[in-house]
């Protein structure tokens, strides 16, 4: 069951690679939160109940409700146009995403470790690199934020792989999640939208050496 969920998670990345509209990205992020909710529910069967409830609340409330709603609110408030405006065509994006997944599978095959379910490793690492790829190839600043959220989800998957042995690390991951999201989204909401009317990365090039 857990493998099915994680593979669906991997498929959402492909969908994100070819999606055109920002609203789709937000919906995929919410879906990823829900998937993570079920993964946590099945995977973390050895940790104490209170901690489990905390983690479940984080995935369902924070990842799949608060952040997507907030991103949607930002889109409306700043009148951001609905297209994602990638630098590369969608077909190339799809090919590159496939390459990322294949390479991580190849890497995982070279690792011999009985303690780790390899699918966690594959999903986490592909999500991480896909997030970086998303950041690098989209024009709008808000898609950078979304790429960061994708990276966070990947890290969360990796932390679940060892969650039963070290629940402290999962909690630290949640702390990172909330801290960084609040910091980034806070700046985005309060400032970037107000000061830079058309939020495009090209506008962030005034700091120069000369």
């Amino acid at each position: 069951m857990i493998h099915v969920l994680l593979i669906i998670f991997l498929i959402t990345l492909f969908y994100m690679a070819i999606a055109n509209r920002l609203m789709t990205y937000i919906k995929v992020l919410a879906l990823q939160g829900v998937l993570l909710f079920f993964v946590v529910f099945i995977q973390l069967n050895e940790i104490n109940t209170l901690n489990l409830i905390l983690i479940l609340l984080e995935t369902i409330v924070f990842k799949s409700l608060a952040v997507p709603l907030f991103l949607g609110y930002l889109l409306k408030r700043n009148n951001i146009t609905r297209e994602a405006e990638p630098f590369l065509p969608n077909f190339v994006s799809l090919v590159i995403t496939t390459c990322i997944v294949v390479i991580t599978i190849l890497i995982s095959n070279t690792i011999i470790d009985d303690h780790l379910d390899k699918i966690f490793f594959v999903v986490a690492l592909s999500t991480l690199f896909f997030g970086l790829y998303l950041i690098a190839t989209r024009r709008k600043i808000i898609t950078h934020v979304m790429g960061y959220m994708v990276i966070e989800n990947g890290v969360f998957v990796l932390s679940l792989a060892i969650g039963n042995e070290m629940p402290m690390l999962v909690n630290l991951g949640i702390m990172l999640d909330i801290f960084a999201s609040v910091l980034i989204l806070g700046i985005f909401l309060n400032k970037i939208g107000d000061v830079f009317k058309d939020v495009d990365v090209d506008q962030l090039s005034n700091l120069k050496d000369y």
């Binding site: 470790d113 303690h115 990276i151 890290v155 990796l158 690390l169 990172l176 980034i184 962030l204 000369y210």
Partner: protein, 475 residues
């Protein structure tokens, strides 16, 4: 004691955040410096002790803590001068000073922590407080700098976290789940090498954002450029040292495993690339503040080359980090006076500084000599030792290229500094320039003199501390 210190400093930072009264604000700032000094003295008398499980007063932490506590004093004085000169409104003043205190506290705690996750948490707090400092001016450029800094730092702290996850995977076989450096070192032979490699790559990459090495150095440059100069001085000296502590403590663990050679290769190539990148930027940079920042990248490249070379290089690297903090912070403190005279950061609009502010010009001249490691600068000693360690490893070609790059850096640094000092700017309006009082430069002279003293005639206890801090490394 560290619990009391953290609580006290956080309480001071919090009350600073809400204070609007001028007298109260500066009293609180003075109080925080007093707390910092008392804590440093206390730590000095309790060397080697463990407190609250996660903090140890070890040699490396002690050296850097004392450096921080010394630099914090001029930072507070210059922040006072800065705020009073700009006639900041009470709210901006409160936020600035509150984040300053928070930054200093978080860096101190990060130095002393003996657990990689705790170092990581305090690194996160420095990102938060530094971003408040960078955003001080509330304009478009400050926002751009803050956004870049926050975003890159967020990605790099995520990288460090991934590294910690891999590290725990590598520790899993041993049946232990304690990620303190001491436990890692004790079990260094049992760690799974594959996961350890991944962990080292991610943790190293993550900490380079703070340390200022390739690949994550860019955010730091923008941050030092846009932050007010007294805060920039902290970002360019003691905050970089926090990145150094994070990498160095973990490097000690990796160096005691069979991966030593591989780790040397990783650190060495990143260091060499940083040196190269710093040279390229130094040759064309026209913004004085950014030039100082790039010079920091160069020095951290040299430090990490020393770490990669090993032998006497370890000792020299720690020494270099300390001396660099003194020298670079004094240059940043001086920059603010330069800006007040010329109202510009660009080299095209700055010149003939000796005529307008002779004392400040002397600081720049001595700072230039110190930064480029010409004798009698203390950095000369540490750089010489690092080059000796590279020579000992037999990489003569590398050494030659590094020296060539350094020559280019010195040339372009010198060209810009002498332009500032002696060559007049055409049609510069001399009527309304501000007269800088010479006493404002005293702290810079003292910092530069400290660097010379520690480099040329290190007191025995300082040498002892340096030797202790590298004693766990092989060879």
């Amino acid at each position: 004691m560290i619990g009391i210190y953290l609580l006290g400093s956080f309480a001071i930072a919090l009350s600073l955040f809400f204070s609007r009264n001028k007298l109260l604000v500066y009293t609180l700032l003075g109080l925080s410096l007093l707390v910092q000094a008392l804590f440093t003295i206390y730590a000095g008398f309790h060397a080697g002790e463990i407190e609250l499980i996660y903090f140890t007063y070890d040699s490396l932490g002690m050296i850097l803590l004392v450096t921080l506590s010394i630099i914090a004093i001029p930072a507070a004085i210059h922040s006072y001068i800065y705020i009073e000169n700009h006639k900041e409104n009470p709210q901006a003043r409160a936020i600035y000073l509150s984040s300053l205190v928070l930054l200093i506290t978080a860096i101190s705690a990060g130095y002393l922590s003996n657990h990689i996750a705790v170092t990581w948490i305090f690194t996160e707090i420095t990102t938060l407080s530094a971003s408040a400092l960078i955003y001080h001016h509330r304009n478009k450029l400050a926002l751009e700098g803050t956004w870049k800094y926050v975003f890159i730092c967020a990605i790099s702290i995520t990288f460090i976290f991934i590294g910690i996850l891999f590290l725990s995977l590598s520790l899993q076989h041993t049946g232990s789940d304690d990620l303190s450096f001491k436990n890692l070192l004790a079990r260094s032979n049992e760690l799974n090498p594959v996961w350890l490699r991944m962990a080292f790559l991610f943790i190293f990459t993550g900490f380079t954002a703070k340390l200022g090495l390739v690949p994550m150095f860019t955010a730091g440059i923008d941050a030092k450029d846009t932050a007010p100069a007294p805060a920039g001085a902290l970002l360019a000296s003691v905050l970089m040292n926090l990145g150094f502590v994070g990498i160095f403590r973990f490097y000690i663990v990796v160096a005691n495993t069979p991966l030593l050679h591989w780790a040397q290769l990783v650190v060495g190539s990143a260091a060499f690339l940083s040196l190269f990148v710093a040279t390229v930027y130094m040759l064309k940079v026209k913004n004085i503040k950014r030039m100082f920042a790039y010079s920091g990248i160069e020095h951290m490249g040299i430090v990490m080359l020393g770490v990669a070379a090993g032998g006497i290089g370890y000792y020299a690297a720690v020494l270099h980090v300390v001396l660099h903090a003194f020298v670079k912070s004094s240059l940043f403190f001086q920059f603010n006076q330069l800006y007040r005279v010329f109202q510009n950061k660009s080299i095209y609009h700055i010149g003939n500084y000796f005529k307008y502010n002779a004392t400040g010009a002397m600081v720049l001249l001595l700072g230039f000599i110190s930064t480029t490691a010409m004798p009698p600068s203390g950095l000369f000693v540490s750089e010489f030792l690092i080059f000796k360690s590279i020579f000992d490893t037999g990489h003569i070609l590398l050494l030659v290229v590094v020296l060539l790059l350094l020559t280019m850096i010195i040339w372009s640094f010198g060209k810009n500094i002498f332009k500032i000092l002696f060559i007049p700017v055409p049609d510069f309006d001399e009527q309304n320039i501000e007269i800088i009082k010479p006493w404002e430069s005293v702290s810079q002279f003292l910092l530069l003199a400290t660097a010379v003293y520690l480099g040329l005639n290190p007191p025995p206890f300082f040498v002892q501390l340096l030797n202790d801090s590298v004693s766990l490394l092989p060879g």
